[in-house]
Amino acid sequence: MAAERDVQTMIDTAAETSSHEGARGLHYEENLLWEKERGDESGVDFPDIKGIDLRTGVPERGAIGLPQVSEPQVVRHFVRLSTWNYSIDHGFFPLGSCTMKHNPRLNEKVARFPGFAQAHPLQPVSTVQGALKLMYELQDILGELSGLPAICLAPAAGAHGELAGMMTIRRAHEAQGNTHKKIVLVPDSAHGTNPSTAAICGYTIKTIITKETGRLTVEAFKEALGDGRDVAGMMVTNPNTCGLFETDIQEISDLLHEAGGYFYCDGANFNALVGKIRPGDFGVDVMHFNLHKTFSTPHGGGGPGSGPIGVTEELRSYLPVPVIKNESGSYRIENERKESLGRLKGFHGQFGMHVRALSYILSHGADGLKQVAEDAVLSANYILSQLKDDYHVPYAGPCMHECLLTDKVQKEKGVTTLDIAKTLVEYGMHPMTVYFPLVVSGALLIEPTETEGKDSIDHFITVMKHIAEETKAGNTEPFHNFPVSTPRRRLDEVKAARHPRLRWKPE
């Protein structure tokens, strides 16, 4: 209870500070724009017209509730807020399964070419042949990299890609008269979006138990499959969320196919495989790509995601539209197809991300992409090798692009995964993914990515070792209070969840 009161005092103090305009050093507290207005300032010098709108001739409307502030106030407001942010451009961001890696500036340069940046989605196709060619080439390359030749670039993000992919599978079953197939198999370590996507598509979820081994086993799969008559498909992430490659995947996908089910692969972790192996070769029928993970387009607040899907030749006709077609060097947008499940998004998808992804792919080349996967795996195994004696490793390595630890050893002294995460913030780093996957207690899922140099990885290892050593020695108190050097200290998560202030209201 004492600790709880301390946290509360800290929050109250912080809240009090934030209600004043002020700064600690060069760090600015920042009020809302509404709290700044004095009522007589404006960023624009409007002509003094009263009563009637000159353009439309209708009476002008009253105040619409925008804050009255000057341009310098607005600029400073947003620049100050931006200094409260943390991003991959600041420092180490080992958020497991999210692949927060450097976004090469070459991609940004290419995305700003006027022919790409200023193209309008309703321009006649004859005037945007270059943009369409770019999309076509990206389709072609994603097909080559995945072994799934038919690509639709439209889905707006990973989960949208999952939805598009599972709807493609449903469409195929409907076309084949397999409407009795109502079950989708999902391992217990899956991303939460997998079972929710299947449920949204009207399927019943059956869980494949992997908890003991961290991997799918043929035995556990067979148990979940049963006679397979009603099984529409399976959704599997490979490598999985424990950072492990599914070694039995070939045999499992053969069994699934024999039962008439389709294999959906969640491509969130494709960055561990790209250029090395092709999911189509281990039996995948449908997968999504996270362009914003594997192919480095900005995300996590820096830009929209993009989740193209790839399918086998057999499923091509069911893909959503639009798809870009090449008719002897002339590119067109296929907006309708009889068997297609239809359109899932306005226009053509996140075109700006298509540009960046293709720029990334072409600038790396086949050998470079292969090295991306190799270095991502090397970085994660380096961390695992350095921390395996300090933290509990639930499933023995080597791992793929991310490594999974838990707080089992530290928890005995009262230091939990949450404390470890908050301590990393104190030491200037974004925490790893915590409490996911759910198959282990107190998960710490660490993905360093291939773009992190040895120095920053070593700094992370040093801090993690420091936490483990101090905890072992019983010096645990600071870890319950970190962070203390940040603009806001440890937040009361229960209060934030139960009494969130989602909207500003006048006093």
Partner: protein, 125 residues
Amino acid sequence: MSENLKYTAEHEWLKIEGDVAIIGITAYAQDALGDLVYVELPEVGRKIAKGEDFAVVESVKTAAEVYSPVTGEIVGVNDNLSDDPELIKKSLDEGWIAKIKVDDPAQFEDLMDKASYDKFCAEQD
């Protein structure tokens, strides 16, 4: 009293009073969930089957469904949890979630007693 307490592999405790089971979640589950922020309670009068979920306990880490280990009817819910979910951790009397009137009290025989539940928990880590 303890001989009337039974446990499940899903980490629920059941206090048996005749053909009514008062259900809550065990210290093991409370510890795994962490700070609780919300409890979704079932409606009184709802019929539930064994294995069906009847409540959701949400913490800052995750949301977990509470599964019924018995078949019967909800005859009472602990409304105090709506205002203060952390009550779940206080005591059996304050932290219970629901009361289920079972169709057949013989169902209680399949549940674990304290000794076998403790052994089960020890094997989990």
